[in-house]
C-alpha cells in the first residue's frame, strides 16, 4: 500500500487525544488476576510483613506509576509492615521517593512500620543475596540510616520472614520467582507492563504467583478496586478508541488487499 504513514500517525494522535479531551467513561471490568493481587494484600493478617518493590523502568511510567500508586495506597492503609527496595532499575529509587513524597506513609511510622532500603545493582544476584540473608547486602537504608537502628529490620532476616512479595516491574519478574518464590515458597504478586502479561500468566496458572496486573488496564482495575479512580481509569478510553481504530484499519487494509488481488 503506497500512502504516507504520517496520516496514520495523525489518526493515532487524534484517537489518543480526543478521548482525553472528551472522556467516554466506559466501565472497566475487574479480571481475576487483578483481584488476586488485591485480595492477597487485603487478606494479610495484622502484623504481616510485606515486600513492595516499585521497580520499573522510566519507559513504563505511564502504566506502572498509576499501578504502583494504587497498590501503595492500599498497602499503607493495611495494619501491616512494609519493606521497600529496588533490584531491577536505577529509575526505581526516584519513583519510590516520588510516591512516598506524594502520598506519605499514612499512619505508618518510618523505621517501625515501613522502610525503604534503596537500590542494589545486579538484578538476580542481589535478589538471591537479599532473600538468603538481608544483612549480607543491606547495611544502611536508602537515607543512610544503619538498619540496626530500624526496628522493622530486626524482624526481617531473610525472605522467609515476609508474608507477601509484591513487585511492580517492567518485566523482570522471573529472577524473583527463581530466587525468592521457588526456594522460599513465598506468596508473590506482580504488576507488569502490558507486553509481559501473556508470559506472566504461565506463572499465575501454575500457582507460583497469586496476582498479576496487566499494564494500564490492570492499573485502571486496581484504582477502581481501591475506590480511588485516577489517571489510569481515564486512559482506558484512549485505549479503546485507538485499539478499535487499529483493528478496523487492519481489517480494511486486508479487504483492500484481497480485492486488489482478486482484480489481478
Amino acid at each position: 500500500m503506497k500512502f504516507d504513514s504520517r496520516w496514520i500517525y495523525v489518526a493515532v494522535f487524534l484517537t489518543i487525544g480526543i478521548p482525553i479531551l472528551a472522556p467516554i467513561g466506559l466501565p472497566v471490568l475487574i479480571t481475576p488476576t487483578t483481584r488476586g493481587m488485591f485480595d492477597a494484600i487485603q487478606n494479610l493478617p495484622s502484623g504481616s510483613i510485606m515486600y513492595l518493590g516499585i521497580d520499573f523502568l522510566a519507559v513504563s511510567q505511564p502504566e506502572l506509576l498509576p499501578m504502583s500508586t494504587a497498590v501503595y495506597k492500599q498497602a499503607i492503609s493495611r495494619p501491616i509492615s512494609i519493606v521497600m527496595a529496588c533490584f531491577s532499575t536505577t529509575d526505581c529509587p526516584l519513583f519510590t521517593q516520588r510516591i512516598i513524597q506524594q502520598i506519605g506513609y499514612g499512619s505508618k511510622k518510618y523505621g517501625e512500620d515501613i522502610v525503604f532500603l534503596g537500590y542494589f545493582p545486579g538484578l538476580e544476584t542481589p535478589i538471591a543475596a537479599f532473600a538468603k540473608d538481608v544483612r549480607s547486602v543491606v547495611s544502611v537504608d536508602a537515607f543512610g540510616t544503619p538498619i540496626s537502628q530500624l526496628a522493622l529490620m530486626n524482624r526481617v532476616k531473610s525472605a522467609a520472614d515476609f508474608n507477601l512479595w509484591v513487585v511492580m516491574t517492567s518485566g523482570d519478574y522471573v529472577p524473583y520467582l527463581r530466587q525468592v518464590q521457588s526456594p522460599y515458597h513465598i506468596k508473590m504478586a506482580f504488576g507488569t507492563s502490558s507486553p509481559e502479561y501473556p508470559t506472566g500468566l504461565v506463572y499465575y496458572q501454575s500457582g507460583q504467583i497469586v496476582g498479576l496486573l496487566n499494564g494500564l488496564r490492570g492499573a485502571a482495575e486496581y484504582e477502581l478496586l481501591i475506590h480511588s479512580p485516577g489517571s489510569a481509569a481515564g486512559g482506558m478510553d484512549a485505549q479503546s478508541v485507538t485499539q478499535l481504530f487499529i483493528i478496523v484499519a487492519v481489517i480494511g487494509a486486508n479487504a483492500l488487499y484481497f480485492s486488489r488481488r482478486k482484480k489481478k
Binding site: 530466587q179 501454575s206 496487566n214
Partner: protein
C-alpha cells in the same frame, strides 16, 4: 496566571515531548538535540544511582570497620584495567565472579521455577475442563517445535512425519501466543503515547502545541522557498 515550578516543569516536559515527536514528520536537528540530551541525562542518572548503591553496599561497611569489603572494591576497580591494553586480561577475574555466581543462580533457579514448577502446574490442571486438554496438547506441541536434533520437515520415516505435523500444530499455538503478545504490546505502546499526549493536551503544555505547529509551518514555508 501564577508561574510556579510545576508550571515551568510542565512546559519543559511539553517542549521535550514535541521535540521528540517532531521525528514522526522527519528526522531533524531538534530531535537529535533532544535525543543527545536524553542519553546524557539517563546515563548520568544511572551513574549517580549506581555509585550511591555501591557506596552503601561496600564503602559504608568498610568505613564502619568491616575490612573484608576492600576485596570486592579492589575486584571492581580491576575491571577498569579493561582499558589498558597491557593489563586488560586481568578484568576477566572480576568478570568470572559475575559469570560464576550469576550462572549458578540461574541454573538452580531455572530448574525449580521454570521447569519443575511449570511441569507440576501442568499436571495439576483441572482436566475435567476440556480446555486444559487443549493446553496440554499445546504445551507438548510447542515444546516439540523447538526440537531440531531429530525428526523434522523434509525427512522420511514415521517419526519424522509425526514430528513434522506435530511441529506444525506447535507453530499454530506459537502464532496464537505471538498474536496475544502483539495485542498486549499494542496496549503497552499506546499507554506510553497516551502518557505524553495527555500531558501535551493539558495546560500549560497545551499552549505550546499551536506555537510548535506555527514554527513548523513557518519552517516548511522557508524550506520550500529555499528550494524554489
Amino acid at each position: 496566571m501564577n508561574i510556579d515550578a510545576t508550571m515551568v516543569g510542565a512546559l519543559i516536559a511539553g517542549a521535550a515531548t514535541i521535540a521528540i515527536y517532531s521525528y514522526l514528520y522527519e528526522e531533524n536537528a531538534v530531535y537529535r538535540l533532544a535525543e543527545s540530551l536524553l542519553i546524557g541525562l539517563a546515563t548520568g542518572n544511572v551513574v549517580a544511582i549506581t555509585w550511591d548503591a555501591v557506596r552503601r553496599a561496600a564503602f559504608v561497611p568498610l568505613v564502619g570497620g568491616q575490612v573484608i569489603w576492600i576485596i570486592p572494591i579492589v575486584l571492581g576497580m580491576i575491571m577498569y584495567l579493561y582499558f589498558l591494553k597491557q593489563y586488560s586480561y586481568l578484568y576477566r577475574i572480576p568478570l568470572a565472579f559475575l559469570v560464576g555466581v550469576g550462572t549458578g543462580l540461574t541454573i538452580r533457579g531455572s530448574v525449580s521455577a521454570n521447569l519443575i514448577d511449570q511441569l507440576v502446574g501442568t499436571i495439576n490442571a483441572d482436566f475435567s475442563n476440556p480446555s486444559n486438554w487443549l493446553m496440554l496438547l499445546g504445551i507438548v506441541a510447542s515444546t516439540l517445535y523447538f526440537v531440531f536434533t531429530f525428526g523434522g520437515q523434509g525427512k522420511t520415516g514415521y517419526y519424522s512425519q509425526f514430528h513434522s505435523r506435530f511441529s506444525t500444530l506447535g507453530r499454530w499455538f506459537l502464532m496464537a501466543a505471538f498474536g496475544a503478545t502483539f495485542g498486549n504490546v499494542v496496549q503497552g505502546r499506546i499507554s506510553s503515547a497516551w502518557g505524553r499526549v495527555g500531558s501535551l493536551l493539558t495546560p500549560p503544555a497545551i499552549y505550546e502545541v499551536p506555537i510548535a505547529i506555527a514554527i513548523f509551518v513557518i519552517y516548511l514555508i522557508y524550506r520550500k522557498r529555499k528550494h524554489t
